[in-house]
């Protein structure tokens, strides 16, 4: 079930009980960066129902291969080799085709390649830390990378992020825009992370934990993790009346 025909229905209202609130004092940076007034709720207009289109021609051959896209010729990034794959669907279960996914992560030692990063773990000269892909007509995607390491960060005196990959996702409309993070099944650090705990709903947290998927490993090469992403659903416009008058 892919979205072959363009759809024009407004997106379903966001279920904020599943998302982190703006103000989460145990994640300290949110205190001064959280709006305090109520959001203005409004049914989507054309400006939100539409969204940018990304043609697969923008992709380079190694964009979905973080093991090689920054590595010197003949070399590769250090770490546990993994495939991350899954499907982008909307809340109706419909595959979201042509969705641009961008991902970024620390290297296997938990170090980011960024000038603001101060963790003492080593930089991997063959690992840049970014990749991207576009879902196929049924919403499926995959990429290759190394499993990122956990890392400490200044919040409490001893807070550590569990291993995670950041995902940026476009759907078909600008109001589906989403940034989230993928965690790894079995990681004991997940449940003590102040950023994970900004999410008020346990099931919503579990939905961000990728499952080890031994059926999709490449034997003698890489293990696989399966991570599905759900974007906002939208109304069918079949029986929708055009409002009269003003």
């Amino acid at each position: 079930m892919s979205n072959k025909k363009p759809e024009t229905g407004a997106f379903w209202a966001r279920d904020h009980t599943r998302h982190p609130p703006a103000l989460t004092p145990t994640y300290k940076t949110s205190v001064l960066r959280s709006p305090q007034k109520a959001l203005l709720s409004l049914d989507g207009t054309l400006s939100e129902i539409t969204g940018p289109v990304f043609n697969p021609s923008i992709l380079g051959e190694l964009d979905n291969d973080l093991i090689h896209n920054y590595a010197a010729p003949g070399e590769s990034a250090i770490g546990e080799r993994i495939i991350v794959h899954g499907r982008v669907v909307d809340e109706r279960g419909k595959g979201v085709s042509g969705a641009l996914l961008e991902f970024w992560q620390a290297n296997a030692g938990g170090r980011y390649r960024h000038k603001k990063e101060t963790y003492l773990a080593a930089i991997d000269p063959n690992f840049g830390g970014c990749g991207r892909t576009i879902t196929d007509e049924d919403g499926y995607y995959r990429f290759r990378t190394v499993r990122p390491g956990a890392y400490p960060w200044p919040n409490g005196v001893n807070d550590w992020r569990p291993a995670h990959i950041h995902f940026s996702v476009f759907g078909h409309g600008f109001s589906q825009r989403l940034i989230t993070q993928m965690y790894f099944d079995g990681d004991p650090m997940i449940w003590s992370c102040p950023i994970v705990k900004t999410i008020p709903d346990k099931a919503a947290i579990e939905q961000l934990i990728a499952a080890l998927d031994m059926n999709n490993t490449i034997p003698m090469d890489a293990r696989a993790y399966k991570f599905d992403i759900v974007l906002r659903g939208r109304r069918s416009t079949l029986f929708e009346n055009r409002l009269e008058g003003n």
């Binding site: 960066r33 959280s34 409004l42 603001k116 950041h166 992403i229 409002l243 009269e244």
Partner: protein, 204 residues
């Protein structure tokens, strides 16, 4: 028990974090050679139709300091009011304008800057024309879920006065938080995350 609606739930948002640039603007943080250029960094080319404008501003936190690690995306119609999107069924948008841009706030000054064109008017659901506007989406460390808002144009007083979204803002003094001021071809649009001047953010 009735049948289940079989509805899935949207994946929860998580903050973009301090290193969002690695993923979305790698060239900006000197990760060179992975992508030719950063997506969304150039919105117009020589063939793009419409009036060239620049939008500059800062994003302020609750202590009045500009964010130096935020990322902003904008989405807008072309000069005729058409979106370059599959869901745009009213006509064909300018092929030389995607309508989408992405910029960081500067790591020292905190300023963001978009070079784009002034959009045309787009109809509301009931057919009335909305005032020209640009959709903004702001993410950063400390922002748990991306913030949606709109920028309107200070030199469009008549259109702004009849805009259906602006009309929905209960506290009229807050309307001005969405209106950019014009100086030459430059529009100034500052965003306030908290406080007396808090920008109107949208759940849309």
């Amino acid at each position: 028990m009735a049948q289940s609606l079989g509805i899935l739930k949207e994946s929860a948002s998580q903050t973009a974090g301090p290193y969002v640039h690695i993923g979305l603007l790698p060239n900006f943080v000197d990760i060179k050679g992975v992508y030719e250029s950063d997506l969304g960094s150039a919105m117009v080319n020589e063939q793009t139709k419409g009036e060239r404008i620049t939008i500059c501003g800062k994003v302020f936190d609750g202590a009045g300091a500009p964010l130096r690690d935020a990322l902003i995306e904008i989405w807008q119609a072309d000069s005729q009011g058409f979106y370059n999107s599959h869901s745009e069924l009213r006509g064909t948008a300018d092929p030389n304008f995607t309508g989408w841009g992405r910029q960081p706030t500067h790591m020292e000054s905190g300023e963001f800057r978009f070079e784009t064109i002034k959009p045309g008017r787009v109809p509301y659901k009931d057919g009335r024309l909305m005032a020209p506007h640009i959709s903004f989406w702001i993410v950063a460390r400390g922002i748990n879920i991306g913030l949606h808002t709109r920028m309107y144009f200070g030199d469009e007083e008549q259109a702004n006065s009849e805009d259906p979204l602006l009309a929905r803002i209960e506290h009229r003094v807050r309307v001005s938080t969405l209106i950019a001021s014009r100086e030459g071809n430059n529009y100034g649009f500052d965003i306030y995350l908290q406080g007396d001047r808090e920008t109107v953010f949208l759940d849309i």
